[in-house]
């Protein structure tokens, strides 16, 4: 029954960064990083897109084997297929998540963390001395770690949050059901990501094309099941691909849930922190979670290390993590969530009209401010959306 300082459950972006930062913060700390799957980074349950600025806080993408594609354009497709190009700059990157996650885990190991793959946490209880006894099951059988702080970075299905008594449940209206194929042999602009909205295409969410190389892309969509016509996400995706890319070769279907809500009310407890998807730290407008997870993991790892070094891992001390996260991004997500709610009231005809309004602005003058101003003039339905942004 080894006594350790920090146990991180889940070696995705949140967990690996948390382990790396905790190990770097103090060289004497014993940090263990658990990964349920036999290899870090597989299977991939992700569209693999990240923003440029956020990514660069953690890693430099130029020439990196884990960076599949640089993206310089965003093309929105209205429900009636009208194309609108809205940005031309350093938009972001499409990652190779298998390699990216492996790189982050390797950094955690280089910093001194002990990575255990194929090892699942099966339960945890709090001991009288304040440590968490976490039962694990791995290639060498069963064991128990006694950790001063447990960081739950175990994704949408988080068990750590549940075991620690945190409320990680989500209402059905805020769960996007996603499906994605890697599609080969299709024609698209390989420097752009495509996003299409529409009640018949992806009700409550959007469909995406994220290029991974010439003629190869992650093609997927997310729907809110409450708004579905009875079909599941995979059926919506099959219909969309059949219409847009009837000759594309589909491989490897991936499915998963994206929580488009806001950060859980409490992300900490005595000796416990939760980070990333497990704490619903996802941009509720875009569904993006990778950079959010890394930023939260960095805060969690540093907060845990500082608390251990100070000899106080109580909930009162660890509450600083929640406060820092809300200031960093959590409060923004609350605003984005209000915008999402307002946008939900707009229909396909509105988005088709908005696409034409924006396309009437010359591309070189198509700044976000000008788009916004024109849109408000031509589409007064947007005023409550704009108002909510500032409330």
């Amino acid at each position: 029954m080894p006594d350790i300082d920090v146990l991180v459950v889940g070696a995705g972006p949140a967990g690996s960064i948390a382990a790396r930062e905790a190990a770097r913060a103090s060289h004497g700390l014993e940090v263990v990083l658990l990964e349920r799957d036999r290899a870090v980074g597989a299977p991939v349950r992700c569209a693999e897109g990240v923003g440029d600025a956020g990514l660069r806080e953690f890693a430099s993408p130029e020439g990196a084997p884990w960076a599949a594609r640089k993206i310089t354009r965003v093309i929105f497709l209205a429900p009636d297929d009208t194309e609108v190009q809205v940005a031309e700059r350093d938009v972001g990157w499409i990652l190779d998540r298998t390699r990216f996650d492996a790189m982050l885990a390797a950094e955690a190991v280089a910093a001194g963390a002990d990575l255990q793959v194929g090892t699942e946490a099966t339960g945890m209880t709090r001991e009288v001395d304040g440590r968490w006894a976490v039962a694990v099951h791995g290639p060498d059988g069963r064991a128990v770690y006694r950790a001063r702080v447990v960081i739950g970075a175990d994704g949408v299905e988080t068990m750590v949050g549940r075991w620690a008594g945190l409320d990680t449940r989500v209402p059905a209206r805020d769960m996007e059901s996603c499906a994605q194929y890697v599609v080969q042999g299709i024609d698209f602009d390989p420097d752009a990501i495509y996003l299409q909205f529409g009640d018949g295409i992806a009700p409550g969410g959007y469909a995406w094309i994220f290029p991974k190389g010439d003629g190869v892309a992650n093609v997927g969509l997310g729907i809110v099941a409450l708004k579905s016509d009875g079909r599941n996400a995979r059926a919506y995706l099959d219909a969309w691909i059949a219409r847009r890319y009837p000759r594309g070769a589909r491989t490897g279907v991936t499915v998963g849930g994206v929580i488009v809500h806001t950060t859980i009310k409490q992300t900490y407890g005595d000796g416990i922190l939760v980070a990333g998807d497990a704490a619903h730290m996802i941009n509720p407008l875009s569904g993006g979670g990778i950079v959010n997870a890394m930023k939260a993991g960095r805060l969690a790892g540093r907060t845990a290390a500082a608390a251990i070094c100070a000899g106080d891992t109580s909930a009162d001390r660890l509450a600083a993590y929640h406060h820092d996260w809300m200031q960093l991004l959590g409060d923004d997500h609350l605003k984005y969530y209000r915008i999402k709610q307002a946008l939900e009231r707009l229909d396909d005809a509105f988005f088709n009209g908005l696409a034409r309004t924006v396309n009437a602005i010359p591309r070189e003058k198509r700044t976000l401010g000008r788009i916004f101003a024109q849109a408000l003039v031509k589409h007064p339905q947007l005023i409550p959306v704009a108002a909510r942004f500032f409330i």
Binding site: E157, M159, M175, N232, G256, G257, I259
Partner: protein, 66 residues
């Protein structure tokens, strides 16, 4: 007094389920668990609310009489 038994409970088709974990946070009584090989529904905890059924991206969950 024990809670009344649900009329229906959720079941998972393990041949279809991809173990993505989407249904876990949707379950109000937290009756669904993932273990190393399977998705497990605790039939004694399931209240038959159906909240897990439609959101499954591949349609792996269904209701059966309890």
């Amino acid at each position: 007094m024990p809670a009344a038994r649900a009329a229906e409970v959720a079941v998972v088709d393990l041949d279809v389920c991809d173990r993505c974990g989407l249904c876990l946070p949707l379950c109000p009584p937290e009756a669904i668990h993932l273990d190393l090989t399977a998705l497990v529904v605790d039939r004694t905890a399931c209240t038959g609310c159906r909240k897990c059924v439609a959101p499954c991206p591949v349609g792996a969950l269904a209701m059966i009489p309890a």
